[in-house]
């Protein structure tokens, strides 16, 4: 059914193309993964637990944030609090997944839902640029995601084994790597008035919310405001 009208393909070429696009991130991502692994060792993680954390959760920011309040004994209330924390930190994934709908809707559910496991910030951003430039091969999404996943798991386990002694991530500006990559994904998407309004609203609202609203809501609030504002900028009549 999905072969006739659906424009979705899955090729090995796009898989490797997706993996290649992630390359500029790798030095920074490895250092981040090593730092997570080392920090997890401080909290008593074994190399296996560090690997399971990265392999099953696959969301660096949430893993890092959760580590700050990590406990030796988990009770039901503390697990519930952890669930809420994870949900709020990762709320942006709700929006990222929603943006995949127009593309993946024709896929049968048993294909689209498992594929979404690979949805992470960096490869999603790369995939959205690929899509906006006309790319429709799902191999790109899976390839960029699987490659990122593998590197994230390996770097976390390596960091747990190595422990401390890593360079200070701020001194070598590792905290700039991901935002800079995001900017590179964003720039080609600029088309005009709709972006000016949508992105402008997103910027103002998210920055404002980040000072007023506690926690991680600012991403969600800013992004939804910006997208809705941009969506109400109608296409120019011809």
């Amino acid at each position: 059914m999905d072969a006739q009208s659906s424009p979705i393909r899955f090729t090995r070429e796009a898989f490797f193309q997706g993996a290649r696009v992630m390359m500029p991130l790798m030095p920074g991502m490895w250092l981040f993964g090593l730092a997570f692994g080392a920090a997890s060792a401080q909290k008593g993680f074994s190399w296996l637990e560090a690997g399971l954390s990265s392999g099953l959760i696959f969301a660096g920011l949430a893993q890092m944030v959760a580590l700050e309040g990590w406990r030796q004994d988990w009770t039901v209330p503390s697990l519930l609090a952890l669930a809420v924390l994870t949900f709020t930190v990762n709320m942006r994934h709700l929006l990222m997944a929603a943006s995949m709908r127009p593309w993946f809707a024709p896929l049968p559910a048993w294909k689209s839902y498992p594929t979404l496991f690979f949805l992470a910030d960096n490869n999603w951003a790369a995939t959205m640029r690929y899509y906006s430039q006309g790319g429709r091969d799902a191999g790109f999404f899976v390839g960029s995601g699987a490659f990122t996943w593998l590197m994230w798991v390996l770097s976390s386990m390596a960091g747990q084994v190595i422990g401390g002694g890593l360079p200070d991530p701020k001194a070598v500006a590792i905290d700039l790597v991901v935002p800079a990559f995001f900017i590179a994904m964003l720039v080609p998407n600029w088309k005009g008035r709709r972006e000016a309004i949508g992105w402008g609203v997103a910027a103002v609202v998210s920055v404002g919310a980040s000072f007023i609203v506690p926690g991680w809501w600012f991403i969600f609030i800013g992004a939804v405001s910006g997208a809705v504002a941009g969506g109400f900028v109608d296409d120019k009549p011809r």
Binding site: K43, G44, S46, A98, W124, L176, N189, R194, G231, F232
Partner: protein, 109 residues
């Protein structure tokens, strides 16, 4: 005590439970956004909103990071913007940010 807590256990049940809870919640977020859109008809307006969403998400992550960061962060991200625009290269954008950011921090800005 600075030594790592409880060394030697390869797989602790409590830790595994906590990792499991986080994994389920993360997967829920990844799938729920896609599922909800199943029940919202893709009118032209909704399509335009979804089209605008990726850029808005990225801006809502980057702009607060820049606003809360130091001068090196802002200058580094500005360098990335210029490099991405002029050189159309992801690699140079990331390099520009790191070189400018690390350089400014090194000289103590």
């Amino acid at each position: 005590m600075t030594s790592p807590a409880d060394p030697g256990t390869l797989l602790d049940l409590g830790t595994l439970a906590a990792i499991g809870v986080m994994a389920v919640m993360t997967l829920f977020n990844r799938m729920a956004g896609f599922m909800v859109m199943r029940f919202i008809p893709l009118t032209p307006r909704v399509r335009r909103i979804l089209e605008c969403l990726p850029g808005a998400v990225i801006v809502a992550i980057v702009a607060p990071a820049a606003a809360h960061g130091d001068i090196a962060m802002a200058a580094g991200l500005a360098a990335a913007l210029v490099a991405a625009k002029l050189l159309k290269s992801d690699f140079y954008a990331v390099m520009a940010a790191v070189v400018v950011g690390a350089g400014l921090r090194f000289i103590g800005v």
